[in-house]
């Protein structure tokens, strides 16, 4: 076979070669996870929004003169009650955790974001003790955090007494 004949044979080769079996059966099950990965993306946005809120509150507090730190003893009653209720619930939920649900690998980082936001609101409460909107915000953050823990963790059932 000369050069021209080889070139002719090369150009006659089909661009497609079909596999003997249908490969789709091995592909399709692997595709199921793509949509579920949308959740972490949403969480990134939620995280960014939460950090933004925390920064905003922090920035506003920095502009206010005379910020005084206070300890738990001087904490207003309403805030103290919220703190005790939700921190107890959170501790219980975390104690009962036996595994982390799929797609929540960075759950601890997410909890830290909420902790930071909670800390910022509490700093604001030091300036405006028992301020209803701040208390509502604190409660909302705790509820969000508890709901997230509920979704992110697999928990052992409570023992029946």
């Amino acid at each position: 076979m000369n050069e021209q004949q080889l070139d002719k044979a090369i150009s006659a080769l089909a661009p497609d070669v079909m596999p003997e079996r249908d490969l789709w059966a091995g592909i399709e099950p692997q595709l199921a996870n793509r949509l579920s990965k949308a959740k972490p993306v949403l969480w990134h946005w939620a995280t960014a929004a939460m950090l933004g809120l925390a920064c905003l509150v922090s920035w506003q507090l920095a502009l206010l003169p005379g910020i005084q730190s206070s300890n738990q003893a001087s904490m207003p009653t309403a805030e103290l009650m919220l703190l005790q209720v939700y921190e107890t619930q959170k501790a219980n939920q975390l104690r009962q955790t036996v595994a982390i649900a799929e797609g929540f690998d960075n759950w601890q980082q997410q909890l830290q974001v909420w902790d930071q936001a909670i800390a910022q609101v509490r700093r604001a409460l030091e300036l405006y003790p028992d301020e209803p909107q701040l208390l509502a915000q604190l409660q909302s953050l705790y509820q969000q955090q508890l709901a997230y823990i509920q979704r992110a963790t697999l928990q052992q059932p409570l023992a029946m007494s």
Binding site: M1, N2, D16, V17, L23, Q30
Partner: protein, 174 residues
């Protein structure tokens, strides 16, 4: 056809698996051809093809349409097949045409005159075959082939020359 593919791509980007199946049907022959010709083994080519379509599904949301979907998929397919070719020690270390290739394991759409060439390509030593497939069939330049395979450009040219010589020799005997 182009509009149909564009619609399927748009739907698949949104997570429509049926639309992705349509794309699979359109392109599986092209993807498998690259894998089979490069890897020279039915099972490896099937596994590689599946891996490529899964990769395409995962990367589809990032596909911006700067090139055609076919070109984009072809790039992923070639790179994935080459990665597997490079990982395959057996392929890299075997540089002999003594081994009998798998000759009857695919249904080709090529003409009866092209079928002997298809079989002869599979007889080529691994590196010469990879260079021949990428340069002569997939249209890459020697510099690109050299980069992809991790060899010198001169080696790519030499392997291509060797491949042509062997093919001419074998096809003349038939």
């Amino acid at each position: 056809m182009a509009m149909e593919i564009a619609q399927a791509v748009a739907a698949a980007k949104e997570g429509d698996k049926q639309a992705f199946y349509h794309l699979y049907q359109q392109f599986v022959g092209r993807v498998y051809a690259i894998c089979w010709r490069l890897l020279g083994n039915k099972q490896k080519a099937e596994d590689a093809s599946q891996e490529i379509f899964i990769k395409v599904w995962q990367q589809l949301p990032a596909f911006r349409g700067d090139s055609s979907f076919g070109t984009w998929l072809h790039t992923i397919a070639t790179r994935t097949a080459i990665d597997l070719w490079r990982q395959d020690k057996h392929l890299r270390l075997t540089d002999s045409s003594d081994e009998q290739p798998e000759l009857t394991d695919v249904t080709t759409e090529c003409s009866s005159t092209a079928a002997p060439l298809e079989q002869a390509i599979q007889r080529l030593p691994a590196q010469a075959r990879a260079v021949f497939v990428l340069f002569a069939l997939e249209g890459y330049q020697h510099q690109e082939v050299a980069t992809m395979l991790g060899i010198a450009e001169g080696t790519s040219k030499a392997q291509y020359f060797r491949a042509r010589q062997l093919l001419q020799e074998w096809l003349a005997d038939e």
